[in-house]
Each structure stands twice: as C-alpha cells, then as structure tokens.
Subunit: 660 residues, 2 copies
C-alpha cells in the first residue's frame, strides 16, 4: 500500500466482493464531458475498483451497465436509481443529481446490497446545503481541532490534490455550497475579493464546480474603508453602495458562478450597519442589490448580541438578542438575502432551546446554522455524535403555522414556499491526516451532509451508513460502534452542564470545566447559582425570553412544571431541593448525572478498546488516545461540578460518593 498523506474517510471503498466484472457507462442526454458528470464517472470508477477490483470499459460483452439518463421529471439535484442483475439505471435532471446518484449507488454497493435490490428515489430536502469554514489566512482555524487550514497558510491560498479530495467528500454527502474563510474577516482575508487572490480563488472554485459545489466568501463589512479608501462603510452612503456594486461586478466577472457573500456584522467587535444607526436589513439589502444582477446571494448571520454585558444586570438577556434585533424587519429583507440563524439562542451549547427566530420570522429566508466543529462539545477529543441534536432541532414544532411548522419545514422552504433556504454547518476539518482530529468525528461531517440532503434520515441510519462505509468490520462491531455514537451526546451532556444551563467551560478555550468561568463575565452567560438554587429566570417574571415563542411553546417554557426538564435551568431559577419527574431532587440529579456520565465515558473507552482487533491499528490508536483524554475530562467535569455544587449547597450526595 502506498503511503497516504491523508485519509479517505468514508470513501475508502474497501473490498466487498470478488465479483470483479467490469462496468460500461452509458450517458443519455448528459455528456461524459459535462464537468460534474465526468467527476461522477471517475468516482464510480474509483468505487468499483475498490469494492470489486473492477474497472470501466468501453467494450460490450460480459459487463455491468450503469446507464445515466436525463429525466426532467426528477427534482433539481435529485436522483432515481434502480438496479437489476445487469446493472443500474440512474435518472436525474441535472449534473448534481448525477453525482449524488452515483454516490448513492456506491453507498449501496458498499453496504453489500445486491444490484437488483438497489432502488432509491431522492430529492434534497434543502436547496442550500453549506459548509462554513472558520479558516484564517494565516493557516489557523478559529475553533479548529484538526490541525491547520488546507486552504490558507501565511496569508496565501493553496490548491492541491487534497482540495480535490475534499470536494469529493463534500459532494458525496450532498454539500453544494462552501464558504472557505472565517466569518471574522481581518487582514489578508479582506483581500480575497481583490486581484491579489482572484486567480487562486478561481482555481479553487473550478475544483468545487467539478463537484457541483458553489464557492462563497465571507466578507469584511468595512471593506469599502479598508480596500476602497472610503471614510465610512455606511450601507446607505452612496459612495459605499457604488463601491459594493463595482466590487461585486468585478467579483462575479473574475469568478463566474461565484455564490455570494457571508456576512458577520455588528457581532463580537465586527463592523456593521449599527455603527451608522442603520438596521441589519439596511446592511443586508444593500449588499444583496449589489450581487443580484449576477444571481448572487447574501447570507447574513443573526449572531448579534451585546457582548459587553454587565453580569450584575439581571434584565438584559443574551438569549433574547437574535429575535429582538431581527424580528422587526421580517419581510423587509430582499429576496436574495438569507438570514443564517444558529440552532439555539446562545452559542452551540450541548443543550439549548431552539432559536425562537426560526419560524419567528415568517417572511424571511432562513438558513439553519449548526456547528460540527466541536467547540463546546468536546473539541473532537470527546466523542459527541451531534446528529441526534440536529434532528431535535429539525423536528421542533415552532407553531409558526398550522402545518409545515417544524424547523425542517422552515429551512427547507416548505413553510413559506421560498426557494432560498437550507442548512449550514461550521465545519470540523483541518489538515490532520484524518481530516477531523478524532476519526470518529467524521461521523458528524458525513452526517451533517446526509441530513441536510435528507432531513428524514434518522440519526441511526446515518450512523450505520457512516460506520459501514468507513470501517470494514463485522456486524456486531458495527452495531457496537453505532451504539457508541448514538449514546455519545447524552453522555457528554451528563458529565458537563446540567439541564440546559450551559457555559460551565474554561473561558476562551471552551474545553474542560470551569463552573464560574463565564459567571462574572461580559458575555451574557450566567448560571446564577447560589446557596439555594441555580438557573436563569427567562419566564414572564424574568427576562421574558419564553414569550418569544409561539403558543403552546411559550406557556410550556414559562412554567417550571411544564418546561421540558432538559431545559429547566435555561428557563428557570430552581431550588436544589426541587423534585424532578424522576423523584430525584435537582441537586441529586446533578450528582447522579455527573457520576453516570463519567462512568459511561469510561464505558465508551472500554467499548472502543474492545474493537481493537477489527479496526486499523493507526485509527485505533488515534481514537484510543482521545478516549483516554475524554475519560480524564469527564472525571474533571464530574468532580469540579459536583464539588462546586456541594460546596455551595451544602447538601450531601444521598449515595455517599466521593465529592471533593
């Protein structure tokens, strides 16, 4: 085997059968030279070589046939695949449908499904299925846990074979848009929309285009000042408007097929329209008009809040901010603007309620943002399969309408009938050999793409697919690993912050416990624990955040008796002696869940160790090392959280376990 410079993740195409009969590929109304079709056929060749040792032939005779047929009755980017003993027919209406269909066939073949049993018809749930890189041009990655950037280094861009593999991976799970640079646009990154970088961006964009992926860039709202030498970046200033129009014309001319801009404005120190007394809508619409002539879109992040809050202030509530800043302008955003909204109102904690802005807006394009980079969820050291969390978000009923009111409905466009809609993830990749630091974290990368393409898939289906494609092991081992993935989020939640309160992490780093780490900070992130209880009153007697939801959610969240217990401390300040539905007191729940979570983390490590003989030794070692760190982390969380609450509440653990 040749030495690899990076892994192939779930596209390893490990041998599944000795049936090495060659394949013939026939195209009807597509050309094999069409750029994405061409990539699809090349991928098919890779797949059958790996799975069967077979090749593609032009000869007739004893061959299987893959017939690709253009069929305009198939949805955009959808496909229909149907097998029989002699081969498979793939129907699609566009090139992306072809490549997604090919990857679907390869998934089936990898799962040892017989040709004649292949039968699937698929259409993407979401029009936009995006990855957001937080890669900086110095090569660092904000909240990256898998090495450095594979796009940038030393304020320059590079494009190589790894970039091609990356595009393959993304296409294989249905991703059709990628923002390559960090939303915090500073320094050289401001120049990505100038001649300094157009050639390199174009080179990368061409690779992405071969895989049906549009390239997007995060932009600096202050670019008219920094690049244009203007005095202001006021979105209503004529000079600024003209500058963005001219700049966008240049961008789309230099980068034909370019997707548009992602903007983080007025957030955590970034410039934005507020500086000039303008609204978020003013900012977004001005840019939208500048890119509209070229079919471009503006993705505008809603992560706007007061990040210089006084912890003594019990009235201001960061959780309210997104809704408060954006709701009033619902309907004013132009058609090619889409608001990117984080799944929760805070910031990617292991447990948050669903953002009330999702569905709170009823006349605005909405893009759901999740984070597979495990910033608060274990840094890709701790195992935390996030798809169950994303499913909860998608399945959440907002009650924004009588039907089609789930988050999945809203971000797919079903609720409002809009075309600009979808899901985006802050990606968890870097230039590590295995792309994701922890090999098992690739399940989130794979899973997000699959889920964004088909929100009906279950967490378990996705986990099983990923396990089967990634590893070459027996069914019992697959079951075990799938089970580990499925439990992992709950385990992580147990040993970290209880019942939705969040934020008990080491400041800045966001790994490991620090119960008071964000308690007296400026970030709006408080647990308000005292001798008697813990939690933030967000009911109508508190900050009123619960009232941002539609009924019956608002009433349920408002009442500690009705509030879902996993969110109890997010919405209410609760005494330690409060009885939970289980009969445990709150304090006892804190102790129990932390002891359990730690024990379960140890069990995860033991389960992994039991797979030693069926996993590649290097993969095994890398992951085993991380499980050791996870167990240490879980112990630290258990002991710090339990000690903190014991020292504060003075209530002993009923079970008499060691609390320090």
């Amino acid at each position: 085997m040749k030495a690899q410079k990076w892994s192939q993740m779930w596209l390893g195409y490990h041998r599944v059968s000795k049936d090495n009969k060659n394949w013939k590929v026939i195209c009807n109304d597509f050309s094999k030279e069409d750029r994405v079709v061409n990539s699809a056929i090349a991928e098919f060749a890779k797949g059958i070589k790996g799975y069967f040792g077979a090749g593609i032939t032009e000869d007739d005779g004893d061959v299987y046939v893959l017939e690709i047929i253009k069929d305009t009755s198939i949805a955009n980017e959808g496909y229909s695949i149907k097998g029989e003993k002699s081969g498979v027919t793939l129907r699609a209406s566009d090139e992306n449908g072809v490549i997604y269909g090919v990857f679907a066939i390869l998934r089936k073949l990898g799962a040892r499904i017989r040709l004649e049993d292949i039968c699937e018809k698929a259409a993407p749930s979401n029009p936009l299925r995006m990855m957001n890189h937080w890669d900086n041009m110095d090569g660092s990655i904000e909240r990256g846990y898998s090495g450095e950037s594979f796009f940038f280094e030393n304020d320059d861009m590079y494009v190589d074979e790894r970039t091609v593999d990356y595009a393959r991976f993304m296409a294989s799970v249905g991703i059709n848009g990628i923002v390559i640079n960090n939303v915090n646009v500073k320094g050289a990154a401001t120049y990505l929309i100038t001649d300094r970088f157009f050639d390199k961006v174009k080179e990368l964009q061409d690779i992405f285009a071969d895989y049906g992926i549009k390239l997007y860039l995060s932009i600096n709202f202050a670019a008219p000042i920094e690049l244009g030498g203007l005095e202001v970046c006021d979105p209503l200033d004529e000079g600024v408007i003209a500058w963005w129009q001219a700049k966008s014309k240049e961008v789309f001319e230099k980068l034909p097929g370019f997707g548009g801009y992602l903007v983080k404005a007025d957030s955590e120190g970034r410039p934005g329209p507020f500086t000039y007394g303008r609204t978020q809508a003013d900012g977004a619409n001005m840019l939208a008009d500048a890119v509209a002539p070229y079919g471009g879109i503006i993705i505008w992040r809603c992560f706007v809040y007061n990040c210089t809050q006084d912890w003594r202030d019990y009235k201001t509530d960061r959780a309210r901010a997104g809704y408060d800043y954006f709701k009033d302008f619902d309907g004013e955003y132009h058609d090619n603007v889409i608001l990117q909204i984080k799944n929760g109102p805070m910031d990617f904690q292991i447990r948050e309620p669903i953002s009330p802005l999702l569905g709170g807006l009823t006349k605005t394009n909405q893009l759901l943002e999740v984070q597979i980079a495990q910033e608060y969820t274990g840094h890709q050291i701790d195992l935390c399969y996030l798809i169950p969390m994303f499913k909860e978000v998608l399945d959440f009923r907002t009650y924004c309408s009588e039907e089609n009111d789930t988050v999945a409905d809203i971000v797919s466009g079903r609720t409002m009938g809009n075309k600009l809609a979808g899901m985006a993830a802050v990606i968890n990749t870097g230039n590590d050999f295995n792309w994701t630091g922890n090999d098992l974290a690739a399940a989130n990368l794979y899973g997000f793409g699959r889920l964004a393409y088909n929100t009906e898939l279950s967490s378990e289906e996705i986990a099983r697919e990923w396990v089967a494609l990634t590893f070459d092991m027996d069914k019992a081992s697959e079951d075990k690993l799938t089970d580990m993935l499925l439990k992992s989020r709950e385990i992580y939640e147990k040993y970290t912050s209880p019942l939705g309160i969040g934020w008990m992490v080491t400041p800045h780093v966001h790994y490991g416990p620090s119960v008071d780490g964000y308690e007296y900070s400026r970030w709006g992130t408080y647990h308000r624990a005292d001798h008697k209880g813990i939690g933030v009153d967000r009911s109508d007697k508190g900050t009123g955040y619960a009232q941002q939801y539609y009924e019956p959610n608002a009433s349920a969240y408002n009442d500690p008796e009705k509030c879902p217990e996993e969110l109890l401390l997010f919405f209410h300040h609760i005494p330690y002696t409060w009885k939970l539905k289980s009969g445990q007191t709150l304090i006892q729940y804190i102790y129990d869940s932390h002891f359990e979570g730690e024990a379960e983390a140890e069990q995860l490590a033991a389960d992994w160790n039991s797979l030693k003989d069926v996993v590649d030794s290097e993969v095994f070692a890398r992951v085993a090392e991380r499980f050791e760190l996870q167990v240490a982390n879980a112990k630290e969380w258990r002991d710090q959280v339990n000690s903190y609450f014991f020292r504060k509440s003075d209530i002993a653990d009923e079970k008499g376990r060691k609390i320090y």
Copy 2:
C-alpha cells in the same frame, strides 16, 4: 523644551534655586578618568545644571567645591558626604561609593537642603542589589506592564542612549547587578552566551560598568544539549561539566567583569537536575565550579514546586515546596552559589507569610527576591506602593538565631557573616515613555533600590524622597501624594483577596477577580471555600506547613487564635461566622473590607484629581486614566468577591448594601 523620547523619572533635576554659582570638582586619589568617577562627575554636572542652572568649571574663584577623597576607612560602596558653605566633601573607598555619594548629594540638593546641612554617612546594607529583567528576546516582557523590552527586539539586542539613562537610574538608587534576560530562557536567549551575541552583550556590559553595575545572564540549564549538541544536561555528567567549564571560560574571556548566571531549573517546565535524579545542589555546584575561576557566581532560584498538582489532593502543599526541596542541602552549596528565594512561599501575592526558607537555611547564601513588576498587585494600573510590604519582609523575625535573625539580617550577611548576600527585584520597566506604565509605579523602582541599599529607611522616607525628586510641587501636595502611596497597598489588599488567601485572580492574566479561577487548577493555589467557611489548613492538623517555621512563629501560625489575622486564611480553614478581634465575623469582614477598599480606591482617584494643577499635564492624564481603570477594577473585585461569598454562605451583609 526639546521633545523627549523617554522621561527622566526621578532624575528630572527640576530647578530648586536661583543660586547658579558654578562648581569645581577636585579628586584626591581617584582620577576623573576612572570610569565610574567620570560618570559620577557627569551626573553631578547634570544635577547642578538642572537644580541651579550652574556648571562645572576648572576655574578657582567664586565657586563651590566638590572634593572627592579616597578614604579606605569607608565601607565598600559606602560614602560619607559633608557639606559646608563652600561646598561638599565626598569620601569613599571605591568608585561605586563615589557615584552613590554624588547621587546622595544630588538628593539632598533636590530636597533644598542647604550645603552646610549636608551630612550623611552610608554603607550598603546588602552586598548584592539586583534587578531581574523578565525580558524575552522577541521584545516581549513576561509580566511586563510598561511596553516592550528596551534590550531586545526580534531576537536581537540593542544598546542606545536609553540604555545609558537606564544605567543612570539604577546607579542612582544603588543597584549593582542586573540580569538582563528572562529566567525562562528559550530560543534565541539560549544563545546570549555565544558569539552570536557576545559583542552586543559586551557593549551593554560596558555601559553598565560605567555606572558600577555588573551584568548577569539567565541561562538555559539545557544549553549543553541545545548549544553543545550533547545528549544530556546531567550536572554530574563529565561531558556536561566539561562543556560548562569551557563555555564559562569563553564567556568570562569575552565579557571581562561579567557577574555570573541566574538559573531557573526544574520549575514550571524548565529543564533541571531533577530530570537526571540529581539534586538542586548538584546543579548549582556544577555551574558554580565552572565560573569560580573567574570570580563568577551562580544565582539559583528556589521557585521549585509541583505545578501539575491535583486540586482534589488536600495533602500536597505548594507552600511547603521551597523548604522541602532546598532545606536538606543546607551547607552543601558552594561558596559562590546564592539561592534566590521569593519573599513568600507562593508567588508574589499581595499578602503571604514570609518564606520559611529565609533563615530556614543557616549555612547557605541567600538572596531575597521580590517583584516590583505588579503581576498580582495591579499591573501598574492600580496604585500599589510595595515598599511597606518589603519592609515587613525585611523586619520579620525568623528566630533562626538569638540575634540578627530578621530577614534583613539574613540577606545582608549579618546573620552568618557571609559576603554573598542581598536582594533582587523582578523589575517593572519597559520601553514606555515613562518606563513604568504608571508614572507612580516608579516609586517601587526607586524604592526597591533605596531599600536594598539601606534597609533601615522607612517606607515613608523613601516615598517622600521619590515624590520630592520626581515632582515639583508644594509641601501639602507632596504630603498628599506620599500619603496616597503609603495607603495604597492596604487598599489593594482590601478589595482583592482577604486575609492572606490570595489567588482569586483571572487565570494567566493575573489582573481582575476570578474567585474560583485557580480553585480547580493544577497550580497548587486553592481557597477551599464552601458553604461554611474558607481557607487552607496548613497547621499540624493540615499540611504541616506552619511547622516549617522556628518557634514561636510555628506555634503562632499553627493556632487560629494566635495567627496574625492578615494571614488567617493562609493558615486555617475558618468558618464565616468566626469572630475576628474587631468583633466582625469573617464574612462581615469580607464584605466590609471590599466595600471599604473600593471606596478608598475612589478616594485615591479623587486625591489624584485634586493634584491636577500641580502636576505636569501629561503625567496627570496618564495617571488619571489609570486611576479610572483602578476604580473599575476595584468595583469588579468588590462585587465579584462579595457576590461569590454571599451566594455561597447565604449570610447577608449586616449593613444591607447591594450584593449581586
């Protein structure tokens, strides 16, 4: 006035009189060309020019006379000055005595003392009076709050007019040794003892020598590996011994008059003898033998402790570490080794007991280390005049012998009759215009030097000298500023950590409160606060640290009833309801001291504002800005500490003040 690039601090020589009669300088048995004498006369010229507008003349006639006489009856580096109407006579046995005598005359003249009233005889209390720079070669300064290094930048050294002024300042307060680089020696700094830097170091050393100052370097204990290509740096390895011998020969040949090495070994990740199962004495003595032929010395830091402690471990006590690691080898250190011992057993907190190693060692040269860089004492934003703290340290009776048992006795050499003894300060300078960030922080720079030279001076005498020399204002204003300085340490202590517990600071940064910031850390820094009380039991029932002292200190510290209250929480875990001698409970003391401390910080700011008309406007503005920050900091400390203990103890403030 010409634009200055940096201030002259206390050597501003502001005009004191219109009597501009010139001076004639006569030297007996010294030559005006002697390098330090030459500097002294040049300084005298600067002084009389500033004070009087006078000059030095060779003419006789109507002139004052400064007569410098070599007098071998005067102690090393001492001086005798005696004025009469016609001038002043300065007697000294060596060149350093001459320059110190000149600065003493200038101090008197600056204080408007009449010539005929000048009369002082002085001899340095301490043979070594040193500054330790924590300057890194990239220009940064570890724990620096006054800009960047004025020695290093971009891995190179520079020497310029500012360096000369720096040497003048140091000589003016009696400093005779300076370590120019950080004790954490990494990267380029390892090469300071190689040809790469010898020329530059020599250039700097020559400037220092003009002012009677020896230059020292911090070295990397692993230099034999990093520079010499050896496999080990084991101090008993013959190759290592030979390497250091050859290297030291080279160093002293290239740098004639070089002082020696400062070593931080086996501390906070630095390499050291422990790696090879050797003792600290093995390491120090090996190096000492290598420099002995050239009159060099080894300054060996005692800051050795376990910095990967488990917070769950109530037995291990960082406070014990210095004594435990070094006491057993008392008497084994070679004569040219001196142990540098921090004033307290922890790390420069605003209140600690005196290190039991001081005087605990009775057969070893000891150098007291203090920190005027305000790492834990307000970052040169908050006013904190540290001389009262240093006085407490010097005046502390260790009971190591029947007489001459104070720390001042020990580090002066009086206790043991040793010659190698003294005081060192981690310096608070940088390349800021005013050298010390906060102009008022210069009082600590001035004060340390003066105190190291004469430990009998009171905090007030030093403060008054510094105020008079630095500012040109009326007596009432001088009194006010002096009073501000004298109160400031107590004020800082009040609004920060109570009763000696320390460490409630923001991790890493060490500015601002974070009550639990170091509570669950690896640094051995815990307060152990729970619902009932706070403090660390270091009595014979706890870690036994109190027993490292001689009697009667050991018994006093061991008993909470006898323990000095300002150290109560350092030595004991005390219930919040404990009655202090004032009648306050412990918790009420915490509240009261924090409210008082904050109010007093506001008063300091108000006092400074009242000096607006008598202080240079730029100085006023710089300091006023810092007082604003100090008040904000004091509020944050007050509120976080009070909230933390109220939330934990559930005991209300008797006075009903606002606690969040």
